[in-house]
């Protein structure tokens, strides 16, 4: 599943570049592509005994390869989200909910960002909340709902004015564009959902 996410995110480079050019310096697409390319190379190079080990390695790889603020934020989601998954080997809706909840808490703590500030938190928080509500559902159904929540959250960032990060300096000029980090958050979850729906058997 993570390999599919990597391939998809590399494919979204141009979409993310355009999103970032509107309110940032336009390097988000290249950065995410570089990060997920590095993760897919890591995955190809080794095998992992558990999901938490896999996600921690993926998170650290994102941090060191994307760089800037985005690297730490997305890497922290992947890495710190896995801290309570000790030894789990398969992804189900309950594991997904724990990963999103812990990841969200860590990202908010690290980035000192609250919802409504036009950041990836605005997509990740509704995703985590929804995920906890559907933790008993089959994985593909849970991911469908989680992806939709992230999409709604991402769309809502269009009406927000950035108050943290580099887009902060744009103030009112940042309005009407979605936050590129929120777009990435949605696309990562959407890629997971596509894979789960395709695979039909959760936990592949």
């Amino acid at each position: 599943m993570l390999l599919h996410v990597c391939q998809q995110m590399i494919g979204y480079t141009d979409i993310l570049t355009e999103a970032d050019k509107a309110i940032g310096d336009g390097d988000h697409g290249i950065g995410m592509a570089r990060g997920f390319e590095a993760v897919s190379q890591k995955l190809a190079a080794g095998s992992y005994a558990s999901l938490d080990q896999l996600l921690k390695i993926a998170g650290m790889t994102l941090i060191t390869s994307i760089g800037g603020a985005a690297g730490v934020v997305f890497g922290t989601w992947f890495r710190d989200g896995a801290k309570n998954l000790g030894g789990v080997t398969a992804l189900d809706a309950r594991v997904l909910a724990a990963w999103l909840a812990d990841g969200l808490a860590a990202v908010k703590e690290r980035g000192k960002a609250k919802p409504g500030e036009k950041t990836m938190v605005d997509a990740l928080e509704p995703a985590a909340v929804t995920s906890s509500q559907v933790a008993a559902a089959p994985l593909d159904e849970a991911l469908a709902a989680v992806t939709e929540a992230a999409r709604t959250g991402m769309e809502a960032t269009k009406d927000m004015i950035a108050s943290v990060g580099r887009a902060k300096a744009l103030g009112e000029r940042s309005r009407s564009h979605p936050d590129p980090g929120a777009v990435s958050t949605y696309l990562i979850l959407k890629s997971m959902w596509e894979y789960a729906a395709e695979a039909m058997s959760p936990g592949q």
């Binding site: 310096d25 336009g26 390097d27 941090i63 060191t64 390869s65 760089g67 800037g68 603020a69 690297g71 730490v72 934020v73 922290t76 690290r110 980035g111 943290v164 990060g165 580099r166 300096a169 744009l170 103030g171």
Partner: protein, 331 residues
Amino acid sequence: MRKAKKILNDPRNVVPEMLDGLVATYKGRVRKLDGVNAMVRTDIPAGKVALLIGGGSGHEPAYHGFVGDNMADGAALGNVFAAPTPDIVLEATKAVHRGKGVLYLYGNYAGDILNFDMAAEMAAEEGIEVRTLLIRDDVASGPIENRRGIGGAMLAVKIAGGAAATLGTLAEVVDVTSKALDNIRSISVALHAGSIPETGQFTFELADDEIEIGMGVHGEPGVWREKMVPTDTLVDKMLEFILQDLPFKRGDEVCVLVNGAGSTTNMELLIANRRTLQVLAANGIVVHECVVGSLFTTQEMAGFSISLMRLDDELKRYYDMPIRSFGWTKW
């Protein structure tokens, strides 16, 4: 769109090639760490409190050029205009640590804070004490907690370097550097943008006949956009913002740094400093020393900043210490 004209090999390798160039130039006084873009002194004394600076590349001679005697012990460098990642900062931390802790001193930018904070936690797990001080000297970027670090950063590095070479504990170095930071104020003016080597694109647009006071190096909006004005009019306006901010008072003693943004000439900087000194004299402010040069740049950006640091006897002692580094040498 017009693209920058630069002499480069593969633009993706500008940072490591630049660091290799400095190591070769400096004949053994600094070294580059294996596999990461970090520069450290080769002769850090045992038992010394360490000073680590850093940030995005592209602001040369900052930050690698300020690694040297009585200056920084190391610098962690990111890609051009991007924060260094935590692994780079951590490797640099371990390389400069001599058992007395490490002071991180860098500009107040979100990406830098996220990466340096994460590195500080990783260093703590390895038993290395780290303290962090943020440089927020730009009076044009709002209330103090929002202020960016600009040219005055170099005055802070000078004081911190002197303190770290002299004092025995990290806490004492933090105290002196905090005092310096509290007394430094800067303001910048932009004429045109610098470019990113990897893309050749300029970081912001400003009309040919316009200038903007307070504009950030990534095009962050400033406080006063005007048609081109003579140097003296511009300097008067810039000093108005600085002097009222601390505020600087009659009888205060200061250091002055007039810092070029990259392509502004020494001629222009000297003309600006000429006026700066006239205005300070008229306000009864005593100038201990002036530095005029391009210490903190943004590629071929045109513009300059004026920084003042108010001195007391202690800060003056550290300011007067000799330093030897690629970016700034003083006897």
